[in-house]
């Protein structure tokens, strides 16, 4: 059952990711990305991260992606033009990608030969309660700093996107 689940959503995720990369139109890429995120959210559930799964759906698939789509529509971005080029990326990109994947895979296989296994419900530490407890005890300072970060980000976004810079 776990296998089925994993393969199904892993497949969806990879397929959507491929789609993100190959689609010519940004809006299609964006929608594909939503698919990736949703399937990752399911995998989170399987890994026992229920809070994160919900956050993933709400924050990523919801807020962030909506923002993307807004911008795409606002700028009326069409299919990308073919002008411009990067010799470095075109020549070295494909072999590098293969090498990257190979070395990552090698590292994973080498580093986790046996590894543990994941079963649904095998870990229940990812509830909202647990996360909340950790956030407000051990990770209180980073958490608070995060609020500053977000504030700065908001201000930065406002300043940058203002109509006239004076």
């Amino acid at each position: 059952m776990d296998f089925l689940f994993f393969f199904l959503f892993a497949f969806i995720a990879v397929a959507c990711a491929v789609s993100v990369v190959v689609q010519k139109h940004p809006i299609a890429s964006a929608l594909s990305l939503v698919g990736v995120m949703a399937s990752i959210a399911v995998l989170y559930l399987q890994l026992g991260a229920e809070f994160l799964a919900m956050a993933q759906i709400i924050v990523y698939a919801g807020a962030v992606m909506v923002l993307f789509i807004f911008v795409i529509m606002l700028l009326n971005a069409g299919a990308e033009s073919r002008s411009g080029r990067s010799y470095a990326a075109q020549l070295m990109g494909p072999p590098l990608l293969v090498a990257l994947m190979a070395s990552l895979g090698f590292a994973i296989m080498r580093g986790f030969p046996g590894g543990g296994t994941v079963k649904f419900d095998s870990f229940q530490g990812g509830t909202a309660q647990n996360i909340g407890y950790a956030l407000f005890t051990d990770y209180l300072l980073p958490f608070e700093v995060t609020s500053v970060l977000i504030l700065v980000a908001i201000l930065g976004a406002i300043v940058l996107a203002r109509k006239e810079m004076d």
Partner: protein, 616 residues
């Protein structure tokens, strides 16, 4: 007398007041401040003179604060007064007061009146520091300080290029002398561990002759700078660019005698260094003759007196060099009287002739300026060494001592005395006898100028009796050797002086065509002497120009910009070449950059993998 510091402080206060506020003050106030401060100092000195009877046994020494202190070396701001200092103080403040009074008249119509008196007061401050200082460094303070004031006052008419150049020359030539002086001080500290006069002189007899000779010779280098001796005399004639009271005060009576004072002060060191003593005597004698010959030919009245000053300073050094320190100081005092008078009188003459300094455009002034003529006659008699005048006593004392040391020095001195009498009286005849050859109407000077002249004239005649310096200084220096046949020597020197006067009378009054014929007859030699032996040109050609062109073309252009910068820029261009290749990578394209990042990441991963593989 408890407050020695007041003596220099008063002129300094005058300097501050006139210097800062002078522009807005009325002339009366400026005069009162400038003259008043110096006269007050003079009164303070008189007070010491009259009250401090036993200075020989108990010199006054006052310590105010520590100036420099490091390790075991401690240099205080100390003032000390002994007999020698007292004489110098009298000369400086006394003649200083007279010249201040004179200057109020002479400078009355000049621009920058307040500036002039501020500088003059500053000079008094430094000069008093020089003579009051209780250690070499404080003496050096005054020494450099008077050099500064001399620079400022020579360049008083700074719009004139020649004036400011003369000021620079004076300062820089003095600096060369100071180079020697400061090296001497360093040697003194290295060997004695202190600069205090009392301690140094107490310890000096125990030191090796080589050490003391080195110190003495370096001190002498300093003295040749300040007192305009060979080889550093060149600045003094040029210094006549300054206003005449300055020439009188600084470049005749006080500052230039500082070298003599310093050598006398260091008598203990010099007496233990025979070679240095001989050098002093020879330098002095050579300067005396050399300058006197130039003086024979000059037409600028101030230049004549300037070379005369150089020559007379040479006499003083001769006195010091042959061991007759008190005679040297005596001549210093009397020379201060008659040379100040000569300059001030010359100033009066120049004033009368509407700022004409060339004697060929004077003449016949005895009708217009009788008082000036009378006082100048007194001074000229004194400098010629006519019996009874002040110059006679001191010059005779020096020449007698020189005979005791080495007879040839005496004979050279006598010849110089003759020349001195000749050129001073030549100037006198050319100025006051004959017909007036200048422009405009000459007029007598105001009484503010004449009164000091009269006082000085009195001193020039009677100064030898009033200030019997050898008697005052008795016991301070080793007694001069007894010289046999003293009266005969005296007769010879008197004869030389009188002969000089007589010849000049014959050449410039009786037979005025003669000088021209003589100079024509001498031809090239005359030109050479008239051009002051072209020493300035020699220095320019051998020192000044090589240094400047060498610095410019060799050091700056070749060394600095060529070699050093070239080497650095060479490294730079190599780097640029390498940078040119690397620059290709900086395409500005984000995707290219990202590719490089991925390349780096992959390399890292592989490296880590290899490392893992190695460790396993």
């Amino acid at each position: 007398m408890q407050n020695l510091w007041l003596i220099p402080a008063l002129p300094f206060l005058g300097f501050l007041i006139n210097g800062i506020l002078g522009k807005k003050l009325p002339k009366m106030v400026i005069n009162a401040v400038a003259v008043g401060s110096v006269v007050l100092s003079f009164l303070l000195v008189l007070n010491i003179w009259s009250s401090g009877g036993d200075l020989a046994a108990n010199p006054i020494h006052q310590h105010y604060f520590t100036w420099i202190q490091s390790g075991e070396i401690n240099i205080g701001w100390d003032y000390a007064v002994d007999k020698l200092t007292l004489i110098m103080l009298m000369v400086v403040t006394g003649i200083g007061s007279l010249i201040h009074v004179y200057a109020t008249g002479y400078m009355a119509h000049e621009e920058g009146y307040y500036r002039f008196f501020a500088y003059l007061n500053l000079f008094m401050f430094f000069m008093l520091n020089l003579v009051l200082g209780g250690n070499y460094l404080l003496l050096f303070v005054g020494w450099e300080g008077v050099g500064l004031c001399s620079y400022l006052l020579i360049g008083f008419y700074f719009v004139k290029k020649s004036a400011s150049t003369a000021g620079n020359k004076a300062f820089i030539v003095n600096r060369i002398g100071d180079f020697g002086f400061s090296l001497a001080m360093f040697l003194i500290v290295v060997n004695f561990g202190t600069l205090d006069f009392t301690k140094v002189f107490a310890a000096a007899p125990g030191k090796s002759t080589e050490t003391l000779t080195a110190i003495a010779l370096l001190l002498l280098l300093g003295a040749t700078g300040k007192s305009a001796q060979i080889p550093l005399y060149v600045w003094l004639p040029d210094a006549m660019e300054g206003p005449t009271p300055v020439s009188a005060l600084i470049h005749a009576a006080t500052m230039v005698t500082a070298g003599v004072y310093m050598c006398t002060r260091s008598a203990v060191i010099f007496t233990h260094a025979p070679i240095a003593m001989d050098t002093v005597a020879i330098v002095g004698l050579a300067t005396a003759v050399f300058a006197a010959t130039i003086g024979l030919t000059q037409y600028d009245i101030k230049k004549v007196f300037a070379y005369s000053t150089v020559s007379q300073l040479g006499y003083m050094f001769l006195g010091v060099g042959v061991g007759a320190f008190s005679a040297g100081v005596w001549h210093l005092v009397t020379h201060a009287f008659f040379k100040a008078l000569l300059f001030l009188g010359a100033g009066s003459v120049i004033h009368a002739c509407h700022h004409e300094q060339d004697m060929r455009h004077m003449g016949g002034l005895r009708k217009y300026t009788p008082v000036t003529m009378a006082v100048l006659a007194c001074a000229s008699l004194a400098i010629a060494g006519v019996p009874g005048t002040s110059g006679f006593f001191s010059k005779d004392a020096i020449l007698t001592a020189a005979y005791g040391h080495a007879p040839w020095m005496f004979w050279v001195g006598v010849v110089t005395a003759g020349m001195t009498a000749f050129y001073v009286w030549r100037a006198f005849w050319m100025t006051f006898w004959g017909e007036y050859r200048g422009h405009g109407h000459p007029h007598e000077s105001p009484w503010s100028m004449l009164a000091p002249l009269v006082v000085l004239a009195f001193l020039s005649i009677a100064g030898g009796f009033l200030f019997n310096v050898p008697k005052i200084l008795e016991g301070m220096f080793p007694a001069a050797e007894e010289v046999p046949g003293e009266s005969m020597l005296m007769g010879i020197s008197i004869a030389a002086g009188l002969a000089g006067i007589a010849i000049s009378y014959y050449m410039y009054v009786v037979n005025p065509k003669l000088p021209q014929r003589i100079s024509d007859g001498l031809g090239g030699i005359y030109r050479l002497v008239y051009d002051k032996y072209r020493i300035d040109e020699l220095y320019d050609a051998t020192v000044v120009n090589p240094v400047i062109t060498g610095s410019r073309s060799l050091l700056w252009k070749v060394m600095d910009q060529g070699v050093i910068d070239g080497a650095v820029n060479g490294v730079g261009s190599e780097a640029q070449l390498a940078g040119g290749w690397l620059k290709m990578l900086q395409s500005g394209n984000i995707r290219s950059y990202a590719t490089w990042v991925v390349l780096g990441a992959v390399c890292l991963l592989i490296l880590i993998g290899v490392a893992e593989g190695v460790t396993r």
